[in-house]
């Protein structure tokens, strides 16, 4: 009997704490698979951020460091500048990257740090219980936006990838989605591309993964996937926002 499918060596045997239907698991697997396929597991240092993904240090089969809220790109900078031969990535949610950590992400991109940023955007603060994030859609309900996000009060949702793509130091920025197998395969290609650019010392790469938060959104897992496709993608269009010209 031959093995036709197995768990990636990029993840540990630890059960994750993520809610049923949450796409963090898919995102983890994709990152783990890419690191495994590139043969990088023994030479990678990951930066976990504050939010649901803080425990990612228990799940990735690589050396990891826990970072204060929003600071992962600065910590990753310190690591990469110290051990430039290692592969360094951050795994950050939208509360972490798009709110408290905007300075750190912009300036890591600005300096052209040779790091890869995995940006999980589920349009809400998951870990703290479903509060509004800068990425929460207009009209979307959250515990701190009980009648839905009001643009007059809180502004329109922030498009981080578009912002980062405008930063001269950024090399590669792509937005992908995890709501459907077809899109998940594209997401893996984007993550692979992000890490490949780092291996080639070609600078800063960021892959935004549109993700679900069934618990925070108050939707069943399948309905959450559909909601992502119907509501998030129209506002956060998928595709490459910046990439180096291929030789």
């Amino acid at each position: 009997m031959s093995v036709i499918f197995k768990k990636t060596a990029g993840l540990t045997e630890t059960d994750t704490h993520y809610c049923p239907g949450c796409t963090h698991g898919v995102a983890h697997r994709l990152v783990g698979e890419v690191l495994e396929e590139l043969g990088l597991l023994g030479d990678t240092i990951g930066c976990a951020s504050v939010g649901c993904s803080i425990f990612s240090y228990n799940y990735f089969n690589v050396d990891m460091i826990e970072c204060s809220h929003g600071r992962a790109p600065a910590v990753a900078t310190g690591i990469k500048r110290t051990v430039p031969g290692k592969t360094v990535f951050t795994y950050q949610g939208d509360g972490d990257l798009a709110a408290i950590g905007t300075a750190e992400i912009v300036h890591a991109a600005h300096r052209g740090e040779h790091i890869t940023v995995i940006f999980v955007n589920n349009a809400i603060y998951g870990m703290t219980g479903g509060q509004m994030a800068p990425t929460t859609l207009s009209g979307q309900k959250a515990t701190t936006a009980p009648t839905g996000r009001n643009a007059e009060l809180s502004g329109m949702p922030l498009k981080m990838s578009e912002m980062i793509a405008e930063v001269p130091g950024a090399t590669y920025v792509e937005r992908v989605s995890l709501h459907h197998p077809k899109y998940i395969r594209k997401a893996k290609k984007a993550i692979l591309r992000g890490f490949t650019y780092q291996l080639q010392n070609r600078g800063f790469s960021m892959v935004e993964l549109l993700s679900t938060c069934p618990t925070g959104w108050g939707l069943a897992p399948v309905a959450a996937l559909e909601w992502l496709g119907n509501n998030m993608i129209p506002y956060y269009p998928l595709g490459v926002l910046k990439a180096p010209e291929e030789v």
Binding site: A48, I65, C67, S68, R71, G78, T82, A103
Partner: protein, 355 residues
């Protein structure tokens, strides 16, 4: 290099490079700018890395990453910048990452002034970040001592796996004095590297540097482990200088810039037949309580002098333990006390019968 005239800030930076510092991360703020400027010039020549951060918050987090990856790394700033770094300093203490942080103090609160002050004694000894932790705080009083303590700071930080503060101020950092680098250049310590993030190479389980422990029992254990370390540091590392104190009736207590001014007052008072002396804490934490365990036999009162509204005086009162009265004399907001005014204050105490 023989005796060279240089600023305190420059001496600290050069001493750090001699101490094996390879990575510096910082953000401009007066009056410490000579430190990053010297690193920017000299560190690349020594094969190291200087990187200017977008904020003090980013700088301390870069420091965290760099030191976690095994570098002898440091940052420097001045009072409001240190306030911004406190989140990261709490993290560095919690995760037991060795590194050095220089504070060239200026007057506060708020933006205050760029003139020298000692009003960060609380910030340097009472945390500032969240949680139960302590940071070794070294307080030089001369440019020479700034250089020596800087080299020692790296060794201490590695010995105990803890961040170390070097507490200077705008006067000490900006003034020029002859300095001689007497301590041989340090080589990278071959100590325990089992915590360094280096990639597991498939030969060991993945390593994690973290502070989060949601299980109260586990977090309590971690705290108790840290406290054990702080107790060892308290027992072994407190340091002070005793100046003409043996027969003192009036014993000053001052650190850093204030202490060197007080020395002049002690000499003046002695010339006028007053038996004055000085205890100068060289470590602010651990505070040198042993220096006060046995007071000079004739000591009638302690006078704490600070360039602040009175912060270290809390520790001096604890050290005195009610045996003798503790008086306080402070100038603040960037004002530097003159030896004559300190002597005058002491004379008033003596004439008024307080001593």
């Amino acid at each position: 290099m023989g005796r060279t005239l240089m600023k305190g800030n420059e001496a600290m930076a050069l001493a750090a490079i001699r101490g094996g510092c390879t990575h510096f991360f910082g953000y401009p703020i007066t009056p410490q700018n000579e430190i990053p400027e010297l690193f920017a010039r000299e560190l690349p020549k020594a094969g190291g890395l200087f990187l200017q951060a977008e904020s003090e918050i980013a700088a301390v987090n870069m420091l965290y990453g760099s030191a976690a990856a095994g570098a002898r790394a440091m940052t420097s700033s001045s009072s409001p910048g240190l306030a911004l770094m406190q989140e990261g300093i709490s993290m560095l203490a919690a995760t037991e990452i060795p590194c050095v942080i220089v504070n060239v103090m200026r007057g506060g609160p708020g933006l205050g002034t760029i003139q020298p002050a000692q009003s960060d004694y609380f910030q340097m000894t009472r945390g500032g970040g969240n949680g139960d932790y302590r940071i070794i705080s070294l307080a030089p009083a001369t440019v020479q001592e700034s250089a020596e303590m800087m080299q020692k700071a790296f060794d201490l930080s590695h010995k105990y796996r803890t961040p170390v503060f070097l507490v200077s101020d705008g006067m000490l950092g900006q003034m020029m004095e002859p300095v001689e680098f007497l301590i041989p250049p340090s080589t990278k310590p071959a100590g325990d590297q089992s915590w360094v993030l280096s990639g597991h190479q498939g030969r060991r389980p993945p390593r994690t540097i973290k502070s989060l422990r949601l299980d109260p029992a586990m977090l309590e254990n971690h705290n108790l482990k840290l406290q054990g370390k702080y107790s060892r540091i308290t027992r072994r590392e407190s340091q002070f200088e005793s100046y003409r104190a043996d027969d003192a009736e009036l014993l000053f207590c001052a650190f850093g810039s204030a202490a060197r001014i007080v020395k002049n007052s002690v000499d003046d008072l002695r010339q006028n037949g007053r038996r004055a002396g000085l205890i100068r804490p060289m470590t602010l934490w651990p505070f040198p309580f042993p220096a006060f365990r046995v007071l000079p036999e004739k000591c009638k009162s302690l006078v704490c002098v600070e360039m602040s509204c009175g912060q270290m005086v809390d520790d001096v009162r604890l050290a005195a333990g009610g045996r003798v009265p503790v008086h306080f004399y402070g100038r603040c907001g960037g004002v530097i006390p003159e030896p004559a005014e300190l002597s005058e204050y002491a004379e008033e105490l003596i004439v008024g019968g307080a001593v």
